[in-house]
């Protein structure tokens, strides 16, 4: 097995994880290059080659690389900054404004200053085309070629780069969309084209329309970027496989990504949950909650056997109805600003000091108090050992910012104010975890918490106390969790078809035909991606509801139930899931169940790098002890002197009793007085709530797994 590289392009840094296969994986970070992110990627590859013993040139190094998995946010950024393609829309005559109306929602009801979001396609480029299909797919009026011709003439004159086609009821009969697509391809062969039923053949016009328009908006951007990237990689001699991260946690080849660019829109944090699961498995757990706290945002997700999926999301107030990981993002990070609202309540974020000017303690001109400033005042951060000692922090500026903007306003001491900021931001993050757990019917206390991101492990003990979570794991690669996850992703392709019928009266041959078609399409894609038969698998999901309910519940359907045409077993799976999500089911009332959509997920298993395990080095952590300093203990509400450990020198089996602080180059871990920490076989830090019968359970779990 050759070398594999995970590359995660973030706003500030581009992270690399190099899995050598025959030795410990290595972490690299370079500055991102937002104008052309492929430059940063190449820069990183040069640096990795040069850092080898002996130094290599990049061509030699890249010759050994068989896979690069790449997570990119170019589509996300293009949407957020409104720098997408000049795009046009062909839709059914009479409904061309649906895209802009967004079903008439104003998200902030009491705020009359809140304006609508600029549509992805301006009105004059949204063309209505005559022709109509009814709700059952029967053609009522033929497609009007004159309308099409007029629209395409305008699109050509205007120099549009991409075209979307989305017609009413096309989910029931895509013929008009296909006819229109043929005309567009003939008239504008170079335009980027998205056909709604090719991307998302399911019912709900607005969802399909918005998703289609997003795909066209970012499609040309992603295509150009992938061209640049593949060219640059080829230029240095890369002959392996390039894979692109998707929002569903899987990966895909660039050819697929070009057509379905919208699949990358929320892919930024999508590698995190899968990576988290690997660390949980080291403790014999298949489930976990994964959190990632960076400079400006906090992401939470849940893994229950597999990372939790949702069938829709929102980007910049535009709806995107594609299967994706259910990741909840809130504005809470190291840069989050603390402020007092008009009622005198302390708030944290969502505004952030960002990287520039950054927290007050960075001394780059920031004067407002941030989360990082509070962490410094509370003693969790060492002013002389931030970012591995590469950057000095200014305690006096932090105290000054907190004193002026928080402490004085609340009549508290600076330390009390900092403790308050810490507590409020932890509470915000705990709410973020509730979104992905309690609100979806999961009890967070039953899950280990995987803590990632540079700012995460300072806060996780208090978060765990808030949610009564007894166990947390801070991976050694905490600060680059997504790059790790990229190397663990499978090729995943999602298919959906609307198939409305009562479950008990299902037309099984018709249902099986739809499932077979989707499975065949998945098989063909995996074939193109070079995945051998024995590494392919297919999972079926149904979206069902009680008759006349409006929203569906998506749940996994066992292959056996389909093979046996067992509607009863499928209904039971539905009742169970409905009960879990909403606290009740209508199983006893024998309420009829109806199918709305059927889904197939095609999975191509990829080779995963192995993480090596360290030998047990005994419980005593004394060798890693570096000294002590005063730090704030939230339980005691007072400062106490706590021991400081060098994380790099902690070995498998080393046990630390909280309170303590563990310092790493890219992160700091605060072990509160209510937790104990043990280093596990992967070198991760496992934190257990004190008073458990077997405090070293995590370490044992890891050992069992290793043997």
């Amino acid at each position: 097995m050759g070398v594999k590289i995970g590359i995660d392009v973030g706003g500030t840094f581009t992270d690399f994880l190099v899995a050598w296969g025959d030795r410990e994986p290595e972490i690299f970070k370079v500055l991102s290059t937002p104008s052309d992110p492929s430059l940063g990627v190449l820069d990183g590859l040069h640096r990795i080659a040069a850092s080898q013993q002996p130094p290599q040139d990049v061509n030699t190094f890249i010759g050994d690389v068989d896979t690069i998995v790449h997570g990119t946010t170019v589509t996300t950024n293009a949407t957020l900054t409104r720098k997408g393609a000049k795009s046009a829309l062909l839709t059914t005559a009479g409904v061309r404004d649906a895209l802009e109306m967004r079903r008439g929602v104003r998200e902030e009801q009491y705020n009359n200053r809140y304006t609508n979001v600029t549509p992805l396609v301006p009105r004059y480029l949204r063309a209505g085309v005559g022709g109509r299909v009814d709700r059952d797919g029967r053609e009522l009026d033929a497609l009007r070629p004159d309308d099409l011709a007029d629209a395409l003439e305008l699109f050509r004159q205007e120099g549009v780069e991409s075209v979307s086609i989305c017609f009413l009821n096309a989910f029931a009969n895509p013929a008009h969309e296909q006819q229109a697509a043929a005309v567009v391809r003939a008239a504008m062969p170079h335009v980027y084209l998205t056909v709604s039923t090719a991307l998302l053949p399911s019912i709900r016009f607005y969802d399909r329309l918005s998703t289609t328009a997003l795909n066209s908006y970012v499609g040309p951007i992603l295509s150009r970027y992938l061209d640049q990237l593949t060219e640059r990689l080829r230029g240095v001699g890369f002959r392996g496989t390039l894979l692109i991260m998707q929002s569903n946690g899987g990966v895909m080849v660039p050819e697929v990504a070009r057509d379905k660019a919208a699949l990358t829109l929320l892919s930024g944090p999508a590698a995190g949950p899968g990576a988290g699961q690997v660390y949980a498995r080291a403790h014999g757990r298949d489930d976990c909650i994964v959190v990632d706290m960076g400079g400006t945002s906090f992401e939470a997700s849940l893994v229950s056997g597999a990372p939790l999926m949702v069938n829709e999301g929102i980007i910049d107030r535009h709806r995107i109805a594609l299967p994706m990981l259910g990741i909840h993002t809130i504005g809470a990070g190291g840069g989050s600003l603390g402020w007092i609202d008009e009622g005198g309540l302390l708030r944290m974020g969502p505004q952030s000091a960002g990287a520039d000017p950054g927290p007050a303690c960075y001394g780059r001109g920031g004067t407002l108090p941030t989360c990082t400033d509070a962490n410094l005042v509370l003693g969790y951060l060492d002013p002389d050992f931030f970012a591995g000692g590469t950057m000095a922090l200014d305690l006096e500026r932090a105290r000054c910012a907190i004193g002026q903007h928080v402490a004085a306003r609340l009549g508290l001491s600076i330390e009390e104010a900092a403790a308050g900021m810490y507590r409020v931001v932890c509470n915000n993050m705990a709410q973020g975890i509730r979104e992905v757990s309690i609100k979806r019917g999961f009890d967070p206390r039953e899950f280990p918490l995987i803590v990632a991101g540079g700012a995460g492990p300072i806060h996780s003990c208090l978060i765990c106390e808030e949610l009564e979570m007894p166990f947390q794991i801070v991976p050694r690669e905490s600060s680059i969790l997504c790059a790790v996850g990229m190397l663990l992703g499978d090729l995943i392709h999602d298919f959906v078809r609307t198939h409305v019928c009562r479950l008990e009266h299902a037309d099984w041959p018709a249902l099986e035909r739809v499932l077979d078609e989707m499975t065949a399409a998945g098989r063909e894609l995996l074939q193109r991606e070079g995945i051998p038969e024995q590494h392919r698998s297919f999972q079926v999901k149904f979206d069902c509801r009680y008759l006349k309910q409006f929203h569906e519940v998506s749940f996994a359907v066992p292959q056996a139930a389909i093979a046996a045409r067992d509607a009863g077993a499928i209904a039971r799976a539905f009742h169970l899931e409905h009960n879990r999500l909403y606290g009740y089911s209508l199983e006893e009332l024998r309420a009829p169940v109806e199918i709305i959509n059927v889904r197939v997920q095609a999975i191509g298993r990829t080779d995963k790098p192995e993480f090596s395990r360290q030998p047990h080095a005994g419980a005593d952590p004394a060798a890693a002890r570096r000294g002590e300093r005063p730090a704030y203990l939230p339980g005691a509400r007072a400062f106490r002197s706590v021991p400081i450990y060098d994380g790099h020198r902690l070995r498998h089996g080393n046990e630390i009793s909280g309170p303590a602080i563990i310092e790493e180059a890219t992160t700091t871990i605060f072990v509160s007085e209510n937790f104990d920490c043990v280093t596990d076989a992967l070198g991760s830090f496992a934190l257990h709530r004190k008073g458990r019968a077997d405090p070293a359970d995590g370490a044992h779990g890891a050992d069992h797994d290793a043997h």
Binding site: G94, V95, R96, D97, A98, E100, M101, R103, G104, V105, R106, E108, Q109, Y110, N111, N112, R113, Y114, T115, P122, R123, Y124, D134, R135, L168, N169, F171, I203, R204, F205, Y206, D341, E342, G343, G344, L345, L346, R347, L410, L412, A419, G420, R423, V424, N427, N428, Q431, I438, K439, V500, Y546, K548, Q549, F550, H551, H578, Y582, G583, Y584, L586
Partner: protein
Amino acid sequence: MTPIDPILLSVYARNFKSIADEMSISVQKTTRSPILCEAKDFVTGLYDAGGRMLEQMENLPILAFSLAPVCKYIREFFGDDIHEGDVIFHNDVFSLGNQNNDVAVYKPIFFEGELVAWAAAKGHQADIGGAVAGGYNPNATEVWQEALRIPPVKVVEQGRVRRDVWDLIFANIRLDIVQHDLRAQMGACTVGERRMQALLRKYGRENFEAHKLALFDATRRMMEAEIEAIPNGTYFGEGHVFYDGRHDGSRFTIRVRIQVEDRHITFDYSDTDPQTNGFVNGTFTSSASATMLTFLQMVNPEIPHNDGMLQPIRIIIPEGTLLNASYPKATTFGNHLCPPNADAIIRALADVIPERVTAGWNNLLCSLTTGTDRARDEKYVDIFFMGMKGGSGAMDGTDGYDHIGMIDASGGVLDQDYEMFEQQTPHRLIKHEYLCDSAGPGRWRGGLGTETIYEIGSDDTQLVTFGDGDFEPPFGLRGGHAGTLNRICLTFPDGREVIPRNKDLLTAVPRGTRYHQIAGGGGGYGDPRLRDRDVLAREIRDGIVSPEAARAVYGDAHRN
């Protein structure tokens, strides 16, 4: 006494909000009537043991400010006879309910054997008995012609469903889905109960009570600060109601006198016209909700919604007036007196706080169809949400919001998805687009209205209209022009055109009839000749302002 921890205060506020929100998601995802799950015509909330509001998720605010008064009423009504596991239903407009169709579910929350709080969910039911399916009966003169009255009643007693009571209620309601939707509301209250109990386990009863009061105080101070920023004085405004559903040409006036005294504000409706003999009458809580939601749009939207917010505000509506009908008048239209009530408040304050008010909003004109979907062999009920939503009024510095709909919802009510609409009714959508030149011109224009056409697909169609806004357009402010009128017109297959009155009941509307509706645009703000020329050019290009209108109203499109 428990010391107040200013940080914990923020924690409580955040938790209450999250719980109310979670309850709301639960209702939305599990109900069946599109009025609830699509249009979100419901509110969820938490109240303290005495019925004071802790937090609410106000999807449709016109329901919102009846929940706390009813909670207090229930508390007094049952006295000591409130137990863990009870569930209480209520809709009665003569014991502080806001509208007959809006049925509330209350669940007491106990901690260590004591009543500590309430969880409640109130939603507009697809049917509530009475003479007309769906509840809107323009011919009603008394409450019994409109609805089944539900004064506070325990449907579940200490965890056991009272089958007799349950059956009594649902034997008087036409549609089976109402049972399921109320079960869904009960489920949401259970969600609220569980989370509140978890919160109390963490912090304890005493701590909760102390911080609750401190939170009310903090919120009250926020509201007081907003009111203090309004100059002291007494201000008058009027809003107009056209047609009572019975007497052609009838017209009524809502009159408000707003008194601002330092940190307090009073809305006094004593001079409003007397109640009508039809169903165009308000109830105290629906009218007070209208006052609150209009005023809340003029203050900091970040103020938490709890009892403290209400404390500096006084609302006087004498019984027997159009906004507070006396027993046993019909009142189903009462929620829809919100737009003219809002007009009155905005007109009163337009010159006092010109930077905080909008011009007039499009008023509601809505229709409800029922009948049989023959191809599916099913009965359907549909409120045609997508057709009724016009534009909001502009304000200084901000254009109105396009296709937002009535001020009572302010964008909280969603259009049906077109394809779902065609699945769930036999109708076929032909057009739903912004209407060119519908926005009231101004330096800041009103929100755009829409034009909607669909073809009726059932033979036994019953069509009820309810609303207004077809006589008086939304007003402009400071040189801004008025918006445009609402209109509904039916073209029968034989070519005959019928324009229903704004509160009307049509039966046996045949298949193939074309339903045509215009929802007007909102009023403009400021002189249209001062409108930004680049924006105007873009709007002409986009076809939402015609070149003719641009010349006539905005002046030369190219001058800058």
